[in-house]
Amino acid sequence: MTDTVAQHIDYKHALPAEVFTAKDLVTDQDVRWCPGCGDYSILKQVQTIVPQLNLHKEKIVFVSGIGCSSRFPYYMNTYGLHSIHGRASAIATGLKVANPDLSVWVITGDGDALSIGGNHYIHLLRRNVDVNLLLFNNQIYGLTKGQYSPTSVEGQVTKSTPMGSLDHPFNPAALSLGADASYFARSMDRDPKHLQTTLLSSAKHKGTSVLEIYQNCNVFNDGAFFIYTDKETKALEAIFVEDGKPLIFGENNTKGIRLNAQGKAEIVSLEETSINDLWIHDVKNIDKAMILSRFYDDPSDENHLPRPFGVFYDVERPSYDDQVQFQLQIANATKVPTLDEIIAGNNTWTIE
């Protein structure tokens, strides 16, 4: 077996990670997002939580595609690869499989991940490569100046849809679970605390973790998610789910969600219904996670369900990169032929 990368470079495996702070993660490049862009908050929260992960800074790699969001790696003083549109997941797969010792992060936008990169995205999830994917969902193409994206709402008027978009948008949670994601969570740029907590949880998941982050593009799609943070609307529109806890929301937490016999979720008033009858969130239950993912109604629909934030689903299954290493080890455990033996093969003859 040729040397693994680990043998080539001095990883100092034995040493504990050196302490570094958010400041050490800042680079010398000017940040080039529009003033007011939600990306700033995400950058800040990531720089805040990464030092808490007990990682070696030099083992961290941020890989991105193309888009406003994909500029992210330039602003993280780690290894970084700003690749081409839609391909970050595929590149990250090769990178992580090649060196499973790295902490690999995929930074991608709703267009980058779900439009041009949709195929790599779903394959990454089914293979369960151990990377942390941050999906900056601003429901718009920012970098190309405002065309609709696969998450834009139906009817959205954009540069490319003067009469309104006709495309039914993806539901990223449903799509990810449908592709057998082992982890899915949702958070927002404008809720830094929640974002930090959820980032930490995602980073700790072994296997692909998808964290969808609602991100405000104040230039081309301003306010798309404000109902989930604005004081007046937040309580009714957003529900924050936690493992083992009942699904409760509303002003003063007066509403709950119950699963009926048909497998349908319904909003109940806690004045009428006991907390014990509520849906208890269970991040290991795929069926419930799938139903939760369908809390995706248009907020203008009457009786619509609130939009869930937090970890939807979090289970362990073997990660692809681990399994590759495992097969290499098994193969390596039996007698390893020399290069000369391999080249010679089974059938040789000699001419003298």
């Binding site: 077996m1 693994t4 990368v5 470079i9």
Partner: protein
């Protein structure tokens, strides 16, 4: 019975039958026996386009051609001297490839009414009837199926099982005809059927029955001997181009001490490289079957970013899809090996047929000025050296490299005097070192314009790179006008300068000046070489230059070309190398082109070259 023994210096035999007849197996076993008889040889399998076309039909015909002799052999041969046909469809499909005076060995039982119908012969017509009276051929009709059944009558095997051995009969007979030792075949059968002694013995019996048939039947009057060829001493094996390609990359992995990551997506005729490499896990090789070609090459780029040898292989349609990512690799200046086993295009084209029509795509199949080194293999075993060298250059020059192979050499085999690990060149990866105090600049270069490889995991080399234009030295994003021009030139010169470390132009055969210079590249090498040698033997002033590196080309081509009256570039395309030579050097090269999904025959090359000389 005493038989006439005739000495020959070379022979071409073609075995043909239904896909289910075991044609490829007897082909390769006969090749092994021939190699052990110390003849030089070249072989080519001719698979049907369909996975498993209905038995007995024309699309179901499988063929295997072997060319061997006491002289140097460089191709599997134009037309064959001996045609073995197991059924009517095999005859119909292959008779045109038999030379005048050739021998036909036909399995009588493959010409019954059913088989004739399946081969689309009009009812009542049996082509053997005509051939019997055709003075151009020597026809031997042998009831092979029946004789096999007779040989195995005591075994109590079912008909299906019995008939499956009939390929051994013909193998035995051909071994008799050409005086081949059968020990290796015995060994093969032992390996294959060792656990089923009855089946093993049955096969041996049929093999011997075939041999004995030659010995005893009056019909078979002639027997041939072919003296051993004067081949360089050493240890040989037989190898296909795809297997050699896989080994070449593996060897580069061992010599560089870097793990090989092969990310790919199956496609004919490149898939076997994946199948082969998947077997080398114990050597640390990681194979990754991606969801598509884009992911395949991107995974390799990711692996190469991590410090492994990132490699990928495909054929034309896959190369199309990889073009954007290859452009990224040009910009990243990272090692990447891209193998294109060319097949007949455009579009899906004829996937099982060969062609050389992706050369210009290799040069220009990406937007922008995105140069990269291009190297082409010239024979099955040469794929080893080529893949090794492509990988070496990719690593040492931090660049994507395209290696061109084609369906013809990928599936063809030839004897290979293989090297030992010690004989292979060293490969040194230009890893970045931590510079005390200094800041690491990812686009700082050495005298060959090569940047350093900074691998995640190494402290203090943290850096960010990507597909945007970058500032010289620092690698920071730059929209500066002059910087862009500088970087375009640097990327160009880096590739051009590789020629400084490559051997200068060198003729394959012929004198330094003359009437005709033939310039070839890739898998046509064997045929062009043979044609040129034969014309030289005829006294013509023909010289042969074969290009291995297409980008950069070796130095000295225009000087050499100026010493010849005519320059012809034979290619299996409409003239791609020709156009590059003309544009690069303004030399009035003309093309000899064939676009039939088939290799050149030596005859057509010779004819064309002679016409040129007389022009």
């Amino acid at each position: 019975m005493l038989k006439n023994i005739e000495a020959l210096d070379q022979v071409v035999i073609r075995f043909a039958g239904d896909s289910g007849d075991g044609i490829q197996l007897i082909g390769s076993e006969f090749s092994m026996a021939t190699a052990l008889a110390r003849n030089d040889l070249g072989t080519f399998p001719d698979f049907p386009a369909e996975i498993r076309a209905p038995a007995g039909t024309l699309p179901g015909v499988s063929g295997f051609q072997i060319h061997f002799g006491s002289v140097d052999i460089h191709t599997p041969g134009d037309s064959c001297n001996v045609l073995v046909v197991m059924n009517a469809a095999a005859l119909k499909k292959n008779i045109d490839g038999l030379s005048k005076g050739g021998i036909i060995l036909a399995n009588e039982d493959g010409f019954d009414i059913k088989n004739l119908k399946l081969a689309n012969y009009p009812s009542g017509v049996n082509p053997l009837d005509d051939l019997r009276n055709n003075k151009d051929y020597q026809l031997h009709i042998i009831p092979i199926t029946k004789l096999t059944r007779v040989a195995l009558s005591t075994y109590g095997l079912g008909t299906k099982e019995t008939d499956r051995s009939k390929n051994m009969f013909i193998l035995g007979l051909i071994c008799w005809m050409y005086n081949r030792p059968m020990l290796s075949i015995h060994e093969f059968l032992q390996r294959k059927f060792g656990k089923h002694p009855v089946i093993f013995q049955a096969n041996i019996d049929v093999l011997n029955a075939g041999y004995a048939y030659g010995e005893t039947t009056e019909l078979m009057a002639e027997r041939y001997t072919i003296k051993p060829a004067k081949m360089p001493a050493g240890k040989y094996r037989s190898i296909t181009g795809n297997a050699a390609t896989a080994l070449g990359m593996l060897a580069a992995s061992v010599k560089s001490g870097l793990q090989l990551f092969f990310g790919t997506y199956p496609i004919t005729p490149a898939s076997d490289i994946l199948h082969d490499l998947a077997k080398f896990k114990s050597s640390g090789v990681i194979t990754f079957q991606a969801e598509d070609e884009i992911a395949a090459v991107c995974s390799a780029i990711g692996a190469s970013y991590a410090g492994l040898i990132g490699a990928t292989a495909s054929s034309g349609p896959g190369l199309d899809l990889k073009s954007e990512s290859i452009g990224l690799a040009v910009m990243l200046e990272q090692p990447l090996v891209v193998i294109n086993v060319q097949r007949a295009g455009p579009s899906t084209g004829m996937p099982t047929k060969t062609e050389q029509a992706d050369l210009l795509q290799s040069f220009h199949g990406r937007h922008g000025e995105a140069p990269l080194p291009i190297i082409a293999a010239n024979s099955p075993s040469d794929c080893f050296n080529t893949a090794f060298e492509a990988t070496k250059i990719a690593i040492e020059y931090m660049t994507p490299v395209i290696m061109l192979s084609d369906g013809y050499i990928a599936n063809g085999t030839e004897p290979w005097l293989f090297p030992s690990e010690l004989e292979l060149a060293e490969i040194n990866a230009p890893f970045a070192k931590v510079i005390d105090g200094g800041k690491f600049h990812p686009y700082q270069r050495d005298e060959n314009l090569v940047r350093k490889w900074a691998i995640p995991g190494v402290k203090e080399l943290e850096n960010r790179i990507g597909g945007l234009e970058k500032e010289d030295v620092t690698g920071n994003i730059s929209y500066d006008a002059k910087n862009h021009e500088l970087m375009v030139h640097i990327r160009n010169n880096k590739v051009k300068n590789i020629a400084n470390n490559l051997p200068p132009v060198r003729l394959d055969s012929g004198l330094d000046s003359g009437d005709l210079l033939v310039i070839s590249w890739g898998g046509t090498y064997g045929s062009v070489k043979t044609a040129c040698l034969q014309l030289q033997a005829e006294g013509l002033a023909v010289s042969h230059l074969h290009l291995r590196w297409l980008n950069p080309m070796p130095k000295g081509i225009p000087e050499l070309a100026s010493k010849f009256k005519h320059i012809v570039v034979p290619e299996l395309n409409t003239g791609q190398l020709k156009s590059i030579l003309r544009s690069e050097y303004l030399i009035p090269a003309i093309g000899f082109n064939k676009i039939q999904g088939q290799p050149f025959t030596i005859q057509e090359l010779k004819d064309s070259f002679k016409t040129q000389i007389n022009n």
